[in-house]
Structure formats: structure tokens, C-alpha cells
């Protein structure tokens, strides 16, 4: 009998998760980077010549050199291979029912005294979800890029950067320790910088890249400090021992854990573009549009959310840290949404929308609903990637139409668009799917994820810090309605109403090739069904789960349980379970219905309102002057404020240090020592008369003097 039990135990152990070539997931994109980078170097001179003369290839596609055609295969190819490896690992992990994370160690990276960091990957449910999103959505965006960037002379360089980005993003989400995660964290920042400034000949774009890099440095500083504090407490930075030991080593609500979480949050606000460090993301739209889709919407900017979910144990131990995360998230969600209301640049609307949605994710992980945050991260990756790629199609066709007739208009300004539905039908339909998804309309993906976050925010408003959470809950509801409005406004201004591009230009507006539309369609399907993986069990039998026809297993919730379960337990132990009703009564079904009805009402109302607007092309219309509209159009003057309060004082201070302290005091001292030596030297040189007799006399006098002294 005993032997049987042991056999059974062994059988369980045999069914354990065996990673399938996990290193290849990272290695493949890196290989792509090396190949594409080599091609970029090989074609460097030629591409530079093209950039100098016009910026686009005039060579017919068939005659282009292999350095320009090969990246079309290598770039998306390595991503597809990596995605396939991730899928295999995912299926194995699902089959094995993994409880504890599997850490695959390759070599020792750092070894100094007692501090040791291994180059290791952590394979668990959370990193698996992230890897699926990064490689899956990344692959679709790579395919889209083939169509979008093929006329650009820097094509191979573009794919080299893009592959490198995916590599670093995978390092970030699969690293088994804080330092490895930090390598990915910095690496994606670097690639972001390189891709924002991809068209670096344009001064403004190069500056946007620098801005992103510098603002992110502020956040990275927080990340580093948090790492030092953690090392001081745990003497290791590997995830597994840190999180296992955290509940014993750290006092619940203690100052240590609160400080650590606040510094981690500073890092997250930089990378994930939250208030007050969000300012770089809208400027990051200077990069090619697929880059905006991949890096500045779907993956990199979610790194902060991933980090909070990864360190959920620490945040659960620090209720104040969680409160601040939720507060920053709610504030960002509302603040960015208000700015998005009045922007005319299609990519700026989407950029602020991204900032706003990231705010929702922060709100989710801040209130302790880590699964909801990651869930929204995933669905957002689908529909925001779709929206950005769709805007890419719009910009692409607008650019070509305006280029044909040599019209000097902005191809991103929605005031120059209108009525594009007829010319870009596939883009229009798929983007509407994404719009409904982001607005939180049932049964699109965004409904399930966003509603869960709002629900948990409301549930948290019945515990400690109730009034704060109550405020966040109300804000999240208001911001959700704003989302519905600005997205509908963008869609109507772009695709509906009369065309404002011009008669001659209209003929040249064409739908994109299949390499660009197929990713749109795939993402549209995902934006539609993506939310169904996490229909709450309790609600599956109501209309939300289509009366039981949708899978009700609450799959993602159970899937992530081994990762965030400990944090949830800590929260339940100290705060208690989440409330079962909204702060002002009503169950989840009722509130979900209310919010989706409200969102739908806003969408319908704004369609009718915006269609009646008289919109003039950008060249003929004035900027909004005075009042709230101007305030919002100017983005609350935050950039100007930062310029006055931070940038200029820093520049002035640096100038002072340069001109006065360095050039005046430091250089002055060095020069003074030099001048003094010269002066002494000059006086000394006066004794050199050049007359032989003098020398002879002094020599003799010296000898006599010495002899006299010796004789004495």
C-alpha cells in the first residue's frame, strides 16, 4: 500500500513541467537581430545615400538588393518560431499543472563576495502569459511592418531594432531575478529610444527619443534603489527566495516594504508612462506606427504592470504602496482621458488613450486584483495594437495620397481625414471592433477586463482607506465614459462624414496590402473573443456569459493563481476578502450592465454629435483658443510646466556649474597654479645670463663655500 502511494507520487513528479528549449525563445529574436543588423550594416552606405536624396526607395521592388528583401523573412520568421516554442511550453505547462515556478539557470552572471546573480529564466504562469502576448502580438506587428516599412531605406535596420526589442522584452518578462529583469528593462528602453528616433534626420523625432530615454532614467533610478533595499534585507535578488521569504522578513505595512514598493512604483511609472512621468509616451509617437503599436501600446509600456504583478507579494504587504499605485493609476486614467478628448492627431489620441488604459491596469494591480490587471494588459495588447496598426494604415494611405498630389498637409491630423470608410473598409471595420472593445462594450474583450478592474476598485472601497478607493472607483467610471467618447470621436472624424482630404487626393486613398490587413483581422478576432477566457464563474450563467454558452472557468484567474495567490492570501489575512457588492449597493451583474449600457449610450450619442460637427481641414481651422478646450488641447500645459519647473532650472543650474563653477573656479585654480609656476620659472631664468664668466664664478664660489663648510 505504501509502495503504491509512493508510485503515485512519482507519477505526479513525472508529469511535472519540462521546459521545451526555453533558451530558444530568447535566442531566436536575438539571432534575428544579428542577421538583420548585419544586413543593415551591409546596406548602410546605400541606404544612407537614399535617405539623403529623398527618403524612399525609387527602385522597383523586384530590383532591390537582398539586404533589403531578406529582413521580410528573417524579422517575422524568428518571431513566429519563438511563438511556436512558447506555445509548446505553454501547452506543456498547462498539462503539468505547475504549482511552483521553474527556474532554468544557464550560467553565473555576477559573482562578487556573497552577491551572486545567475543568468536564469523563470518559467511560470505569469511569464508564460507575457511571453505569449509579446511573441504573438509581436509576430503580427512584424508581419504588418513588412507592408508598412518596405519602402523605407532603413528597412533592415528597422527589423534589427525590432527583433532586439523583442529579445529584451522577453528577458524582462522571463528573467528569474531583479537584475536580469533590469537588463531587459534597460534593453527595451534602449530599443524604444532607437525606434522613436528611427527617422533621426528629423530633429524633433531625435529629441522625442532622447526625452523618452531621459524620463525613463528617472524611473530606473527608483528601480535600482528598490533593488538595493531588497538586497539589504534578503541578501539575494532572485525572485523565488525573495518572495518566499518576504512575509517573514518584512513587517506588514512596515516602513521598509512601503519604501521598496514606492521605489518600485517610481520605476513602473517611468516605464509604463504614469503620472508624473507619462510625458514621454505621447512624444514617442514620432517613431514608425508599428513601433508605437508594439512598444508603446502592446508590450513595453505594460512592463510596469507586469512588475507590480510579479512583485505582488511586496505590494500586498504594503497597503500604502498599493494605495499609491491605485491612486496613480486612477489619476492617470482620468488625466490622460481628458487630454485625449481634444487631440486632433490620430496617434496622439491613441497615445493618451494608452496612458489612460495603463492607468486602469495600475488601478487593478493597486487594489490587489492582480489577475484583473494582467487580464486588462492582455486584452489591451490586442485592441490597442489593432488600433495603432489601423491608424498606421490610415496614415500610410493618407501619406501616399498627399504625396501623389504634392499636398503639404499633415497625414496624421484627423481634421484632414473624414469619410475614409469607403476607401479603407477593412481597416474601418476592424478598428470599430477595437473601439467597442476599448470602450468596454459587451461582449468585446475590453468589457470583461475593464469591468473587472472597476468592480474590484469598488470592492476595495469597503476596506481600509475606503474614501480614497471610493474616489478611485468614481474616477474609473468617469474615465470609462470618456474613453467611449474620445474613441468614437476619433473613429467618426477619421472614417465617417464627408471627406476633407480633397478631390484629387481621394483617388489615391487605397486599402493596404494583405500583409497589413491580415494582422488587423487576426487582432480584431482576438479583440472580440479575447475577454472570454476570464468570464467570472459566478456571472457565467447571467447574460454576461451568454447564459452559460461562454466558457465560465475563469481560466486566467486560475491560471495565475500560483503566481499571485500568495499576495491574495496576504491581503485576505490582513484586509479580508473583497466585498461582494459595489460601495453603493448592487451586484456585479447589475453594475456590469450599467457600465456597458452607459458606454454604449456614450458611443451612440457621440456618433450622432460628432457627425454634426463642422470640421475644417487643419490648414483652415484655428487652434482652440481659451477655455477648457484650449487647456485640454494644450495637454494641461504639463510639458510647459515641466519645462519651467524642471528642465529650465536644470539647464540654468548646469550652465551655472559649467560657466561659473567649472570654467571659473575649477579651471581658474588649475590655471592659477600654472601661471604661478611660469612666474617662478621666469624669475629663475633671469639667473641664466649666458656669460661664461658668471657661471664660472658661481661655480667656484660654490666650491669654496662647500669646502669652507666642510672645513668647519
Amino acid at each position: 500500500m505504501l509502495a503504491l502511494v509512493q508510485e503515485g507520487a512519482e507519477a505526479v513528479a513525472e508529469a511535472a513541467f519540462e521546459p521545451f528549449l526555453p533558451g530558444f525563445i530568447l535566442l531566436l529574436p536575438f539571432l534575428g537581430f544579428l542577421v538583420n543588423g548585419a544586413l543593415a550594416l551591409a546596406s548602410g552606405k546605400r541606404a544612407a545615400d537614399v535617405t539623403r536624396t529623398g527618403g524612399e526607395w525609387t527602385i522597383p521592388e523586384a530590383d532591390r538588393p537582398f539586404t533589403h528583401t531578406l529582413p521580410s523573412l528573417v524579422g517575422p520568421g524568428v518571431l513566429f518560431a519563438a511563438f511556436a516554442v512558447v506555445i509548446v511550453n505553454f501547452l506543456r505547462m498547462q498539462g503539468a499543472g505547475l504549482e511552483a515556478p521553474v527556474v532554468v539557470t544557464y550560467w553565473t552572471w555576477i559573482e562578487t563576495g556573497t552577491f551572486e546573480v545567475a543568468a536564469g529564466l523563470q518559467l511560470d504562469q505569469l511569464s508564460m502569459v507575457m511571453m505569449l502576448v509579446v511573441t504573438g502580438v509581436g509576430f503580427l506587428i512584424h508581419v504588418f511592418s513588412v507592408g508598412y516599412m518596405k519602402d523605407d531605406p532603413g528597412y533592415s535596420r528597422y527589423f534589427a531594432y525590432l527583433n532586439l526589442f523583442v529579445f529584451f522584452m522577453l528577458v524582462l518578462v522571463s528573467g528569474a531575478s531583479f537584475p536580469i529583469m533590469f537588463v531587459g528593462w534597460e534593453g527595451v528602453g534602449l530599443c524604444s529610444y532607437l525606434l522613436i528616433g528611427f527617422w533621426f534626420k528629423d530633429r524633433e523625432k531625435a529629441d522625442a527619443g532622447k526625452k523618452a530615454f531621459i524620463v525613463n532614467r528617472i524611473g530606473d533610478f527608483g528601480f535600482l534603489i528598490a533593488m538595493f533595499l531588497l538586497y539589504n534585507t534578503f541578501h539575494t535578488l532572485d525572485f523565488v527566495p525573495v518572495f518566499a521569504g518576504a512575509p517573514d522578513a518584512l513587517i506588514y505595512g512596515g516602513s521598509m516594504v512601503t519604501t521598496v514598493t514606492l521605489f518600485l512604483l517610481l520605476g513602473a511609472t517611468g516605464k509604463s508612462a504614469q503620472v508624473p512621468l507619462y510625458v514621454w509616451l505621447p512624444d514617442a509617437m514620432a517613431g514608425p506606427t508599428p513601433v508605437s503599436a508594439l512598444i508603446h501600446a502592446a508590450t513595453m509600456v505594460t512592463a510596469g504592470v507586469y512588475m507590480v504583478a510579479r512583485t505582488s507579494v511586496l505590494f500586498a504587504l504594503a497597503p500604502v504602496g498599493g494605495l499609491v499605485v491605485a491612486g496613480i493609476g486612477a489619476l492617470t486614467a482620468l488625466f490622460a482621458a481628458t487630454i485625449a478628448l481634444s487631440q486632433y492627431d490620430i496617434k496622439k489620441v491613441l497615445a493618451y488613450s494608452t496612458v489612460s488604459q495603463l492607468g486602469y491596469m495600475f488601478l487593478g494591480v493597486g487594489v490587489g486584483a492582480y489577475t484583473a490587471g494582467v487580464f486588462h494588459l492582455m486584452t489591451h495588447a490586442f485592441f490597442k495594437a489593432l488600433l495603432f496598426l489601423g491608424s498606421g494604415v490610415v496614415i500610410h494611405s493618407m501619406h501616399h495620397a498627399l504625396h501623389h498630389t504634392h499636398k503639404d498637409w499633415d497625414s496624421q491630423d484627423m481634421r484632414n481625414m473624414g469619410g475614409l470608410r469607403k476607401h479603407l473598409p477593412v481597416t474601418c471595420v476592424t478598428m470599430w471592433v477595437a473601439t467597442l472593445a476599448i470602450s468596454g462594450i459587451w461582449p468585446f474583450a475590453g468589457f470583461f477586463s475593464k469591468d473587472e478592474i472597476i468592480w474590484y476598485a469598488g470592492a476595495a472601497a469597503q476596506g481600509p482607506h475606503a474614501s480614497w478607493y471610493m474616489l478611485f472607483w468614481v474616477i474609473s467610471l468617469i474615465a470609462a465614459m470618456m474613453t467611449a467618447f474620445y474613441m468614437t470621436r476619433m473613429m467618426v472624424m477619421t472614417f465617417h462624414g464627408a471627406n476633407r482630404t480633397g478631390e484629387a487626393e481621394q483617388e489615391h486613398l487605397h486599402e493596404a496590402p494583405p500583409t497589413m490587413t491580415v494582422p488587423l483581422i487576426v487582432l480584431a478576432v482576438l479583440s472580440f473573443v479575447g475577454g472570454w477566457i476570464n468570464v467570472p464563474e459566478a456571472l457565467g450563467h447571467s447574460w454576461i456569459g451568454m447564459f452559460g454558452t461562454l466558457p465560465m472557468s475563469e481560466w486566467l484567474h486560475h491560471w495565475l493563481e500560483p503566481v499571485v495567490g500568495m499576495a491574495v492570501e496576504i491581503r485576505a489575512e490582513h484586509v479580508g476578502a473583497f466585498a461582494e457588492s459595489a460601495p453603493i449597493g448592487g451586484g456585479e451583474v447589475m453594475w456590469a450592465g450599467l457600465s456597458t449600457l452607459l458606454a454604449l449610450a456614450v458611443v451612440v450619442a457621440s456618433v450622432t454629435v460628432v457627425r454634426k460637427w463642422v470640421i475644417l481641414p487643419a490648414a483652415e481651422s484655428d487652434e482652440p483658443a481659451g477655455g477648457v478646450r484650449s487647456l485640454l488641447y494644450r495637454k494641461w500645459y504639463v510639458d510647459e510646466l515641466y519645462d519651467r519647473v524642471i528642465v529650465r532650472p536644470v539647464v540654468a543650474g548646469s550652465r551655472f556649474l559649467w560657466k561659473v563653477v567649472d570654467a571659473g573656479v575649477v579651471d581658474g585654480m588649475v590655471n592659477a597654479v600654472g601661471s604661478l609656476s611660469r612666474a617662478f620659472g621666469f624669475v629663475g631664468s633671469m639667473f641664466q645670463t649666458g656669460a661664461v664668466n658668471t657661471y664660472a664664478f658661481i661655480l667656484t664660489a660654490g666650491v669654496v663655500l662647500i669646502l669652507w663648510a666642510v672645513a668647519l
Binding site: F682, S685, M686, Q688, T689, G690, A691, V692, N693, A696, F697, T700
Partner: protein, 97 residues
């Protein structure tokens, strides 16, 4: 026996040194230097009676070096004279700052 020799060499040396200091003609200065060298030679020879043969040995070295020095020194003086048509050392003060 040794004292008069040493006194003589001291006189010769002082005369040579004095000549180097006060005379302006390069040839004279040169001769004074020779005088000083030979005064030292005399000292060496005189002291070799007491100390040993090494003193006399040294004299040969000094004479050899003096011969070489005379060749080089005179060559310099001749080339200076060709250039300036004078050997008065007061005119030669270029080697200074």
C-alpha cells in the same frame, strides 16, 4: 719633500682658476684650464709617493682626456672665431633663457 710640491700645485691651481674667472679671451681661459689640470696632475704625482702607484696612473688618464678636450675645445674656438672674428667670451651669451 711632499709639502713644497703640494704648495706649488696649489699655487698653480689658484692661478689657473683666477685666470678662468677674470680673463675674457677664450684661448687664455682655455690655457688656464690646462694649468688647473696640470696642477692637479702634480698633486697626483706628489701624493703617489705616499699612497701608491695609482696617483701616477691617474695622471695618464687626465692627460689623455686633456688632449681630447684640447682638440675639441680648440676646434670650437676656431669655428667661433671664423663666425664672429673674435674670441672675447663677453660676446657669447646666447645660451640663456
Amino acid at each position: 719633500m711632499i709639502t713644497p710640491a703640494l704648495v706649488l700645485s696649489a699655487f698653480l691651481f689658484v692661478i689657473g682658476a683666477f685666470g678662468v674667472l677674470v680673463r675674457r679671451n677664450a684661448i687664455i681661459i682655455f690655457l688656464c684650464i690646462e694649468l688647473m689640470l696640470n696642477a692637479v696632475n702634480l698633486t697626483f704625482v706628489a701624493l703617489s709617493r705616499v699612497v701608491g702607484i695609482e696617483g701616477q696612473l691617474f695622471v695618464f688618464f687626465v692627460m689623455t682626456v686633456a688632449a681630447a678636450e684640447a682638440a675639441v675645445g680648440l676646434a670650437i674656438i676656431i669655428s667661433i672665431f671664423r663666425h664672429y672674428e673674435t674670441v672675447n667670451v663677453d660676446n657669447f651669451n646666447l645660451l640663456k633663457w
